[in-house]
């Protein structure tokens, strides 16, 4: 039992959960407006390289995060332009954005850094102890001795939930994703709302990308995102487009992911479980949970459908 509730394991779970949930929240905002963004992996990768390079050159992770967010937003706006203004197929454009991001990110890195024998590194973000809360036994160690971006992820879950479900703006945004014609009828500018959602959601995706070099490795590597963008996309469905549920999903996935590494280094377990099985564990878990959760899950009704106010549905 102690293995499963080990403090270091749970601490690591939150550390690895943060980029997933930040990206997931960005995607939730975008999808709630009716735009399907399958280019998430490419956008997160661009955020990673921009976040790293700006931090490296300015010495400030805050500047790195801001520019990473802006780059994410910019690339998502490209998706928005094709999806909203040109009414192109969102899957096709999204895949194009995915490939573009994966190609542009290492190109930017090579142009900036070049071919060197020792790659540059930036200091990773250190843990910030929250006064009073961090001294609470067990919980304090796990939740309140984390880096600033983990705290930001807690805040964003609450903030996005509040904006989406408790404010008129959130209602208008959801209306654009559910029934854009009805929203249009009551005077909501659907295109503007969708552009806004893409710009805002893209900020989150950029930050999620910057998280990886600024917290995990201190460096940018070609394969740094390694499918985490796609996982975030899955978590949106897992959470049924509700931030709190996505947060729980991200926690569960990060926990199982961290657990497999924990188990793999315990000789007693390693002897009976082949490493291939352990590596599969988080994905098997995700599939089983998704099969259960996806039953009856419905996304925004107008998701991935271009809206044209001059045509009849």
């Amino acid at each position: 039992m102690s293995i499963f509730l080990d403090i270091s394991l749970l601490h690591l779970t939150l550390l690895m959960m943060a980029p997933l949930i930040i990206a997931c929240l960005g995607e939730t905002i975008i999808e709630r407006s009716g735009i399907l963004n399958v280019g998430i992996e490419g956008i997160v990768t661009l955020g990673a390289v921009i976040g790293f390079l700006l931090t490296y050159y300015t010495g400030s992770p805050v500047v790195g995060c801001i520019f990473a967010a802006l780059s994410g937003s910019l690339l998502t706006l490209l998706l928005a332009y094709f999806s909203i203004s040109l009414r192109a197929n969102q899957i096709v454009i999204g895949l194009g954005i995915f490939v573009l991001g994966l190609g542009v990110a290492p190109t930017i890195y090579r142009l900036a850094i070049g071919v060197v024998e020792s790659i540059p590194q930036v200091p990773t973000l250190t843990a910030i102890k929250i006064p009073v809360l961090s001294v609470i036994p067990f919980i304090g160690e796990i939740f309140f001795k984390q880096n600033g971006l983990v705290y930001l992820s807690y805040f964003l879950v609450a903030a996005v939930s509040f904006v989406l479900f408790k404010t008129p703006m959130g209602l208008r945004l959801r209306a654009c994703g559910e029934n854009p014609r009805a929203a249009d009828t009551v005077g909501i500018d659907v295109a503007r709302m969708r552009y806004g959602a893409c710009a805002a959601g893209g900020l989150f995706l950029g930050i999620a990308g910057a998280y990886l070099p600024l917290v995990i490795s201190g460096s940018f590597t070609d394969n740094i995102v390694n499918g985490r963008g796609w996982l975030a996309l899955m978590l949106v469905i897992f959470g049924r487009w509700v931030p709190l549920w996505s947060f729980i999903g991200a926690l569960l996935f990060a926990y199982v992911d961290a657990l497999q590494f924990k188990v793999s280094v315990i000789p007693q377990f390693a002897k009976i479980m082949p490493p291939q099985f352990l590596l599969m564990l988080p994905y098997i878990f995700a599939m089983i949970v998704l099969i259960q959760v996806a039953k009856g899950a419905e996304g925004p009704r107008a998701l991935a459908r271009p809206y044209n106010r001059e045509t009849r549905d």
Binding site: L12, P106, Q121, T124, D222, V265, A270, L279
Partner: protein, 337 residues
């Protein structure tokens, strides 16, 4: 008058002879052979990785400089694309095609009989039978990693040593076995744990593994991941107890000067230069063992006692000279008992 006539004939004859020598294919002399050849290198990843692919890129640069022949390289070539890229090089007049990585062996063995006039260079973990126009760079990682087992055994305070690898390559399995043997000889109380993260270049997975090991008391981690090493470095830096690390391919000591205990410096230039040199001299096939002393060197030993450094260097030297012959077990990890 007569004398002049014979002098002219002699000069004419010598000129013809020299011209013939220069024209005959495969005529002796490096300059002649060198002009005829073009070298291409196929790399699996980006050359700015400051690691494995950078080393492959260095080979391409070195061949150009050393033999004054035209060289080229292609990056991020998956095994599925390698055959097409190699065929494009051959069609463009390249006569020597080098493949950087064991994942290309099947492609080399497939292409070599189809292009008998082309020379291929491949990297492998064994001295198997190769086609008549293939040079085999045999990477003996298991020999090179043995001294790290000695170093870990002497440096660990908790008697827990970890190895983090990515993919279950035969090279890594045999190296873990070799480390385990060295550890058993140097420090029988020490326990070895190992983990395959499933990816050589994912720092997040490597960091998770390293943190799990550190939480279990491991204080010496031998890295067999490429770019994943940066995740391990961060885990070591943030650990509550002192954690020592080793790395390979390039020296990364500056990333964590207080944590790195040594680097297995791997340089593909010497073995590839031997192969290309052999080809230019007319040898179509050959075997180059890449081992301690030829492509593998120990560098930046530090953060451990002088005795540990001395014994590690001694072990390296003994492996190099053959006084220590590490066990070769590539199929499965079988830790020493």
């Amino acid at each position: 008058m007569k004398k002049t006539k014979w002098t002219r004939r002699f000069i004419f004859a010598v000129t013809i002879l020299v011209a013939l020598c220069l024209a005959v294919p495969g005529a002796p002399g490096r300059a002649v052979a060198a002009k005829a050849h073009k070298f291409a290198m196929i790399l699996p990843g980006p050359i700015e990785d400051a690691d494995y692919n950078f080393r492959g890129y260095q080979v391409s640069q070195d061949i150009k400089k050393r033999f004054s022949i035209e060289t080229s390289y292609s990056e991020r070539i998956s095994p599925a694309d390698a055959e097409r890229v190699a065929r494009e090089y051959i069609a463009s007049g390249y006569t020597i095609v080098g493949f950087h990585g064991g994942q290309y062996i099947r492609i080399v063995k497939k292409l070599a009989p189809k292009f008998p006039e082309i020379n291929f260079i491949m990297e492998s973990s064994g001295r198997g039978k190769v086609p008549k126009n293939v040079w085999n760079v045999h990477r003996k990682f298991f020999e090179a990693f043995y001294p790290f087992g000695v170093l870990a055994g002497l440096a660990t305070k908790t008697n827990k040593v970890g190895v983090i690898a990515g993919i279950q390559l035969p090279d890594f399995k045999s190296s873990i076995n070799s480390i385990s043997d060295a550890l058993k000889v140097t420090n029988p109380k020490a326990e070895l744990v190992y983990s395959f993260t499933g990816n050589q270049n994912d720092p997040a997975k490597a960091r998770q593994t390293a943190e799990a090991m550190i939480a279990n008391g491991v204080d010496f981690i031998i890295n067999m991941v490429n770019l994943g090493v940066y995740g391990v470095v961060e885990a070591a830096k943030k650990a509550k107890h002192k954690v020592l690390l080793t790395t390979f391919y390039t020296d990364k000591t500056d990333k964590a000067p207080k944590n790195f205990a040594g680097t297995l410096y791997i340089d593909f230039r010497p073995p590839f230069a031997t192969a290309v040199g052999g080809i230019l001299k007319g040898s179509r096939t050959g075997w180059v063992p890449m081992r301690p002393g030829n492509g593998f060197e120990l560098k930046s030993l530090g953060n451990v006692s002088a005795e540990a450094i001395a014994k590690t260097k001694e072990a390296f030297e003994k492996v190099r000279t053959g006084s220590i012959k590490p066990r070769l077990e590539m199929k499965k990890v079988r830790l020493a008992k």
